[in-house]
């Protein structure tokens, strides 16, 4: 029947309820929410640690990410090179730390850029509707019918590889989904009564969506920013891994991983790819935790 442990838990709850121990005061609500979102807190901590390590890289390593030292190629981790060196003698640890700066910049920058464009378009077009909305929708559909990496690679072939080209391309391929999401939020908010009221008052067509409607959609937008950041970091790493992303003279996490395409290096020189891979995965995981936490916080239907 019911498991013994479930029965015991129920007995405990019964006892505590009868003794009046279970009523919650308003003060502990915040603590309760934090407790329920341990993962988000953990994610924020990890994110912060890695961010600090990368931003303040010079403090943590004395090497530069580009100095070549052919006498010390492919050395395993030791006391001078904490993470070893790669196939042309560059210190791996500093490549990870400095590379993190670029990867995070690309990820966050592209996410913010795509959000700026996508949200602005979505807010205004979603509110106004009509020809503008239909056109932008069609354009976004066009962009979204390409597998993203293929579209990115086509654009890379046209524009050439550089850090800012990559960010530009990411923004260009990333705005449609932000636009779609904002637009669907706007469509439902548009039906609310206060919007009709504002319209009746003659408030102009820019103020209504941006000042009055947008703040109500801000929750999902923030969630999407975090998840987009994670997605762009992963995309950049895949591109750079293949040598088609950020040019190889600039260190990024993907670039650092790139030599592992060679099966010999993959098998024999684990320090070249495993630490970077772990940092990358953990960082993206942390961002996902934060995103999930934000989503849970914004969603009032999620309870115990």
């Amino acid at each position: 029947m019911r498991s013994a442990s479930l029965n015991k838990k129920m007995d405990t709850l019964l006892r505590m309820e009868l003794a009046g121990e279970l009523s919650h005061s308003k003060k502990s609500r915040l603590l309760r929410k934090l407790h329920a979102n341990k993962l988000a807190v953990l994610g924020t901590a990890i994110f912060a640690v890695i961010l600090v390590l990368c931003v303040f890289a010079p403090i943590f390593t004395s090497y530069s990410s580009t100095d070549v030292d052919l006498r010390n190629r492919l050395t395993a981790p030791n006391s001078t090179h904490l993470m070893g060196t790669d196939q042309i003698g560059r210190d791996i640890l500093s490549r990870i730390l400095y590379g993190g700066r670029v990867s995070i910049l690309v990820g966050l920058g592209s996410a913010l850029g795509a959000t700026l464009i996508g949200v602005s378009l979505g807010t205004y077009a979603g509110y106004k509707g009509g020809f503008l909305d239909a056109t932008v929708m069609k354009v976004s559909e066009l962009f979204m019918s390409f597998p993203q990496i293929i579209l990115v690679l086509i654009l890379v072939t046209i524009t050439g590889q550089s850090l800012w080209n990559i960010i530009f391309i990411f923004v260009l391929t990333g705005w449609p989904s932000m636009y779609r999401m904002t637009r669907s939020q706007m469509l439902s908010i548009r039906e609310e009564e206060y919007v009709q009221a504002l319209r009746a008052f003659g408030i102009n067509d820019f103020l209504i969506p941006f000042k009055h409607m947008l703040p109500n959609a801000i929750g999902p937008i923030f969630v999407n920013i975090t998840l987009s950041t994670a997605m762009f970091i992963l995309q950049e790493s895949a591109l750079s891994f293949l040598g088609l992303g950020v040019p190889s003279n600039v260190a990024t996490w993907g670039n650092v991983l790139s030599p592992a395409q060679n099966l010999t290096i993959l098998r024999d020189n684990w320090w070249i790819w495993l630490p970077v891979g772990m940092v990358l995965t953990v960082f993206v995981l942390a961002i996902n935790f934060i995103g999930d936490g934000l989503r849970d916080a914004a969603d009032p239907t999620q309870l115990g």
């Binding site: 690679l153 086509i154 293949l242 891979g277 953990v282 993206v284």
Partner: protein
């Protein structure tokens, strides 16, 4: 039903036309044109401007943009996709050679993700908050966070080098044609390609299943005296299927895109590997044609998913 399908396919055509236009625009924007590629840089210095102009005229490169677009479109519809700038082989031939491999990989990955993802998701939902549920949940989170190519590398290390169970790279050993013999080459790339989708499907089907199990019709099923397995499967899972199918439809482009990277890592001789090679060499015709066809694949796949949804949920057809 036929109506539904025809309608959807007709919808495609204007979209494809616009995309073809954009693709051609992309071709035009690429640095250099056919003539530049036909003449090596050394020779370029010796060839006169007039000769170049004449070559361009012969190839029709001096006509206005719109005319060139329609010529190109006409060729496209006839099956002439241009020629590789590196080898001179017809792009259509190259694609015919590589498309089956990519389809095989993608379909295998899709099947794997759908079946394994749904199964694990349903199990997690039925054993909510158990140890199994929490472990699977953690795997799901890692599966979504880890870069696919990294997972591929790790998989190679474990299964090829450490355990020696599977071969590395390529689609088959010389002489192997039968599918069952080739399976050992397919397994690793397909699982790696399907990883992110599996994690996503697992998470989503868990949520969908939990939602379905909470609904009244599940209670009704129980009240009829049906055994639990039937309640969960025939009633709970069956209704939970539809949103999961829709999700898979949305994620198909990622599967096709992911194939590009995975094929490279495993040296799987498909469209992706060809595409990457072409990107590196600025081999415009191949790059653009593969791009165009990837869109076609995505759009076709989404129609198939729409049809599937209509089949799964009787309320849809009658909308």
């Amino acid at each position: 039903m036929i109506h539904y399908i025809t309608r959807k396919i007709l919808h495609l055509i204007p979209m494809l036309l616009v995309i073809s236009f954009l693709i051609y625009l992309g071709i035009e924007l690429m640095p250099g044109d056919a003539v530049d590629f036909m003449i090596s840089p050394d020779e370029m210095a010796t060839v006169s401007a007039e000769a170049l102009a004449q070559m361009r005229a012969t190839l029709g490169l001096d006509k206005p943009f719109i005319v060139r677009y329609f010529i190109w479109l006409g060729n496209l519809l006839k099956g002439d996709f241009g020629y590789s700038l590196q080898s001179g082989v017809a792009v259509s031939t190259l694609m015919a050679n590589t498309l089956p491999a990519t389809l095989e990989l993608s379909v295998a990955a899709l099947l794997f993700s759908t079946v394994v993802g749904s199964f694990l998701g349903v199990v997690s939902a039925l054993r909510k908050n158990s140890i199994a549920d929490n472990v699977l949940s953690v795997f799901g989170m890692i599966g979504v966070a880890i870069p696919q190519f990294l997972f591929g590398l790790i998989a190679i290390i474990i299964f090829v080098f450490r355990l020696g169970w599977l071969p590395v790279g390529g689609r088959m050993a010389p002489g192997q044609e039968a599918f069952l013999q080739r399976m050992e080459y397919l397994i690793l790339p397909a699982v790696v390609l399907g990883l992110a989708l599996t994690a996503g499907v697992m998470r989503y089907s868990r949520a969908s299943m939990l939602d379905s199990l909470n609904r009244d019709y599940v209670k009704t099923a129980r009240s009829k005296g049906l055994p639990e397995w039937r309640v969960n499967l025939v009633h709970g899972f069956r209704v939970a299927c539809t949103p999961v199918a829709v999700l898979i439809g949305f994620r198909l482009p990622m599967l096709i895109g992911g194939a590009v990277v995975i094929e490279q890592i495993f040296q799987w001789p498909g469209l992706g590997v060809m595409f990457l090679g072409a990107v590196r060499a600025q081999n415009t015709p191949i790059v653009m044609m593969v791009g165009f066809f990837s869109v076609l694949l995505v759009l076709l796949a989404s129609i198939i998913v729409d049809i599937l949804t209509a089949l799964l949920d009787p309320r849809v057809k009658f909308n």
